[in-house]
């Protein structure tokens, strides 16, 4: 998170709501995430004008329109690259990317992994409903194998991505998972992600009531406690018979990755919370440092001297 001046009057959630009517389907999990974000943005101590939300294409990508900050609703899959440009250009901005499972993992998969490896200052909210909603119900790169959708009438034959494993594989510095229906957990994880310097990736399990209703139903309600493994630093974790204490700050991501693989095991609970949170130099800080170092070493560039560089010659008067 960037250090900026505190705003004079304290802001409230209302200050972050734009005048645009929210147009998601009734019951969509996106509402809960929007509420959570609007509720904790005032606590970040940032000026509204220093926050930028960037999105790609998909239902969740309408998110920036509903926040009274700077924002860009861009093109399919490209939000991380646009956010990279914004973050690299401006140290004083707090940059967010709002994306979905199709946007981030399918058409934009390349930009996502490269943003994660570079560690650009941005917080990525990956809304995962395991379906294409805006295009009306095709399977996504997180849909389970065998899923029957409009484009897979006899079942999907695609093997799905596990977004947390993918992010850990790309050596992301902050990786977490939360769920839309648990407001408290959602808010706590998003706030930690926002406070992290570097790329934070938060996968948010989110229900699509129209095209994939109940995708995460087993993880909700009073009986779901056993279905979730709520990661905390110091939590004892057992994977494949080996037990250790979960440490999100551990530099080697091997054990964090092992925890992420519990998803594939029907007998194991689904891990949520912060998998990884390590300090690593960010791309944009280093890019700015190179510019600052060049300036410090030799002063601001002299354009005339640049143009005059190399082998030059002068013609004193008209040569005929």
């Amino acid at each position: 998170m960037t250090t900026v001046d505190l705003p004079a009057p304290a802001l409230t959630a209302k200050d972050f709501s734009s005048d645009q009517e929210v147009r998601w389907c009734p019951g969509c999990g996106d509402y809960a995430v929007l509420k959570a974000v609007q509720s904790f943005l005032p606590d970040l101590g940032l000026r509204r004008e220093n926050i930028v939300f960037v999105s790609g294409i998909g239902c969740s990508s309408r998110f920036p329109y509903y926040l009274d900050t700077y924002g860009m609703h861009s093109i399919h899959g490209r939000a991380p690259s646009i956010a990279t440009g914004i973050a690299t250009a401006r140290e004083d901005l707090n940059v967010w990317v709002v994306t979905g499972d199709g946007d981030a993992l399918s058409i934009g998969g390349n930009h996502l992994i490269h943003a994660l490896r570079r560690n650009v200052n941005m917080t990525i909210l990956l809304f995962n409903n395991r379906i294409y909603g805006l295009t009306k119900g095709q399977y996504s790169p997180t849909s389970e194998t065998g899923k029957v959708t409009k484009s897979t009438p006899v079942g999907s034959i695609d093997h799905p991505f596990n977004p947390v494993s993918l992010a850990l594989g790309a050596e992301a510095s902050f990786v977490a998972r939360t769920i839309d229906c648990d407001r408290k957990h959602l808010t706590a994880v998003l706030a930690a992600a926002a406070a992290h310097r570097g790329t934070s990736l938060v996968e948010i399990y989110q229900n699509c009531p129209i095209f994939n209703d109940g995708a995460f139903e087993g993880l909700k309600g009073p009986d779901a406690a056993d279905q979730l493994l709520r990661l905390e630093p110091g939590l004892e974790v057992t994977v494949d018979g080996q037990t250790w204490t979960h440490d999100p700050t551990e530099a080697n991501p091997t054990r964090q990755f092992a925890i992420s693989r519990l998803d594939g095991d029907p007998d194991s609970p689904v891990p949520v919370g912060i998998f990884r949170q390590v300090d690593r130099p960010t791309y944009d800080d280093q890019a700015r440092a190179q510019v600052a170092d060049a300036l410090a070493a030799a002063g601001p560039g002299d354009l005339q001297a640049l143009l005059d560089s190399g082998d030059t010659w002068s013609v004193a008067e008209e040569r005929a």
Partner: protein
């Protein structure tokens, strides 16, 4: 001994060898010496896409052609007066371009039976009649180089690597050129490798002395300096000039520059050059792909920086959707396309002008973009500044169409005085621009991101960090003025027309076109755009020298077309348009003006030859005269 010296007014030299023989460096050094001497010049590097194609083969031949003269010249020359061939492949690949009487300097060292067979020579061409039309100097350049650098104890292979400097020394003697500049250059380049430095310098001097002391060359030549306007000059390639133009645009606008790029031939040198200029507030971002490169540039522009991306045709194809986003969000952006032969991967290292229609129309929807083209390597500087001026002033992505010939070719460049370059005003929005009332009827000041400047139709550029101007933009259609999403049919119709009109109004800011028609009697007008300026100009001179008037006009702005172009085209009985494509500008002009523009086209990966083009133009002039008679 003293040699007779013959004065010439122009010479075309072609250095040719294996890809690894250092021919580009040799040519570049001779160019620098000619430039500093005061000759006018024009160069044409020509090399394969493979880094090291199989040694000694024709596909592996790399060449560098230099035209230098005692008067102003416009092209790198059609046919070399002198060929320096470092092996049989280089000889075989280039002999066909030589005019009768040309001088051929051949390194005999590699003329073994095996090498001759490799390139299809049945017999040694140095020993039969193959080269009978030329003045051949067959010399063991490699052997003499090895001998000359013996004292440095290099391996035979390393010693032989200096043979290009021996050749350079020899040719420098032949044309009375000083090699001191090259010695300084070598001292700098090999500062950490003193032995290699000394060997290269020794080879260079040995080459010079060989010319001086042997009877091989009966005469040497002098080509006097060319007339030039007073001022300071340097030799510059198009890619360097274009990079400097982008640096200058940042300085003139007071904006930092963020350049996103993905390596691609022949545009990568722009990324390399800009990466050196951090002190000018230039940040370069080598992205994971072409799309991310332009994405970062669009993001940087949104954040108040001058966003730039540079690529070649295949990269432009990948960037199309993001260019559409920049059209819709009306953000400043400079997209550089250094065109190469296409389609697909095409001819990566060869030149072509076949991306014009892609630049004009290669996006979904009605997505107009200004298109600007430099006309010579040095002109890439001014064209880049102009592209930035339009991008910033009109809040629009701009396509800057260079090409492989401009990118790698070079010419003397009159260095502009920075103090004379006009400032570019970013004019960031700082305050609300619209008054309304809230639900309670109280007056409220708002920011509307799509309220426009009445004259330019540019929208306000409010950058993050500006309190009270928070707003959202994106790829969905905008409501006029307020900029909120709108699917209203009438609004879309209006916004499409406004975006088109905004680009059209750029024409109001352009200077009048200059038609070159010295006699004022021409019936035929030749029109071109981009790098064909030199060949068209040289061809027109030949036509005029043959006693026929002909007029030339050249376009820097292809979109929007200048306001006075229609009237100019209609003044002539015939309009001819030479292009390195199958007639893309001529189609645009026909569609726009209903004028019967006649294309002359070439797609050989090389610039037009002045002689052949002059022949075609003369045919048009003759036919027009016949029709008028």
């Amino acid at each position: 001994m003293s040699h007779p010296v013959t004065e010439l007014d122009r010479v075309v030299i072609r250095f040719a060898g294996d890809s690894g023989d250092g021919m580009q460096l040799t040519g570049d050094r001779f160019t620098q010496e000619a430039a500093v001497f005061g000759n006018d010049l024009s160069t044409l590097p020509n090399f394969p896409a493979e880094i090291r194609a199989p040694q000694g083969t024709i596909p592996g031949v790399s060449s560098f052609q230099l035209h230098f003269a005692s008067y102003d010249i416009l092209t790198p020359g059609d046919r070399p007066d002198v060929l320096v061939a470092m092996n049989p492949a280089a000889l075989k690949a280039n002999t066909g371009d030589l005019p009768k009487g040309a001088t051929v300097i051949v390194d005999t060292h590699d003329f073994t039976a095996r090498n001759l067979t490799k390139v299809g020579y049945a017999a040694n061409p140095l020993e039969d009649e193959t080269l009978a039309d030329f003045a051949v100097h067959a010399v063991d350049l490699t052997g003499m180089t090895v001998e000359a650098v013996k004292e440095f104890g290099l391996s035979r292979k390393d010693a032989a690597r200096s043979k290009n400097m021996f050749a350079l020394g020899l040719v420098s003697w032949l044309y009375g050129r000083d090699v001191a500049g090259t010695e300084t250059y070598l001292a700098h380049k090999f500062a950490t490798k003193p032995t290699i430095r000394d060997a290269n310098v020794a080879a260079l001097r040995a080459g010079w002395n060989f010319g001086e002391t042997t009877e091989t060359f009966a005469v040497s030549y002098v080509v006097k300096p060319a007339p030039a306007a007073p001022g300071r000059y340097r030799n510059i390639t198009g890619n360097t000039a274009l990079s400097y133009g982008l640096v200058a645009a940042g300085r003139l606008s007071g904006l930092p520059v963020l350049m996103g790029a993905y390596p691609i031939t022949p545009a990568s040198d722009i990324l390399h050059e800009l990466s050196k200029h951090k002190r000018f507030g230039v940040t370069t971002f080598q992205a994971e792909d072409e799309i991310a490169a332009i994405g970062a540039a669009v993001g940087a522009s949104f954040a108040g920086t001058l966003g730039v991306t540079a690529t070649s045709g295949p990269g432009v194809a990948l960037k199309s959707e993001a260019m559409g986003l920049a059209v819709m969000t009306e953000l400043p952006l400079v997209v550089v396309d250094v065109q190469r032969g296409g389609p697909s991967t095409g001819l990566p290292t060869k030149t072509e002008q076949s991306d014009l229609l892609q630049a004009m129309y290669g996006r979904n929807g009605e997505a107009p973009m200004p298109v600007i083209a430099p006309q010579s390597p040095g002109d890439c500087f001014a064209a880049a500044v102009e592209a930035a001026r339009i991008a910033i002033t009109y809040r629009t992505p701009v396509m800057l169409l260079s090409d492989g010939y401009l990118a790698n070719g070079s010419e003397p460049w009159a260095i502009p005085s920075v103090a004379d370059l006009p400032a570019i005003e970013p004019g960031f929005a700082t305050a609300p621009n619209h008054s309304t009332t809230n639900a309670k009827g109280e007056p409220v000041e708002e920011f509307w991101p799509y309220l426009r400047d009445e004259e330019t139709l540019a929208r306000p550029w409010a950058i993050p960090g500006t309190a009270g101007l928070e707003h959202r933009i994106g790829g969905l259609e905008k409501g006029e003025g307020h900029g909120n999403i709108s699917y209203d049919p009438a609004n879309h119709d209006r916004m499409v027309r406004i975006r088109a009109e905004k680009v059209q109004r750029i024409a109001d800011s352009l200077p009048p076109l200059e038609v070159d028609d010295p006699s004022g009697q021409a019936d035929v007008l030749v029109i071109g755009w981009g790098s064909t300026y030199g060949p068209i100009g040289a061809a027109c001179r030949r036509v005029r020298a043959a006693g026929h008037p002909i007029a030339q006009v050249h376009l820097r702005h292809v979109n929007p077309l200048p306001n006075d172009l229609g009237a100019i085209l209609r003044r002539y009985d015939r309009v001819v348009c030479p292009e390195m494509n199958l007639g893309q500008l001529s189609r645009l002009l026909r569609a726009e003006y209903l004028v019967d523009v006649r294309p002359i086209t070439t797609v050989r990966g090389l610039p037009f030859g002045a002689e052949a083009l002059a022949h075609d133009l003369l045919t048009h002039v003759t036919r027009t005269a016949e029709a008028l008679a």
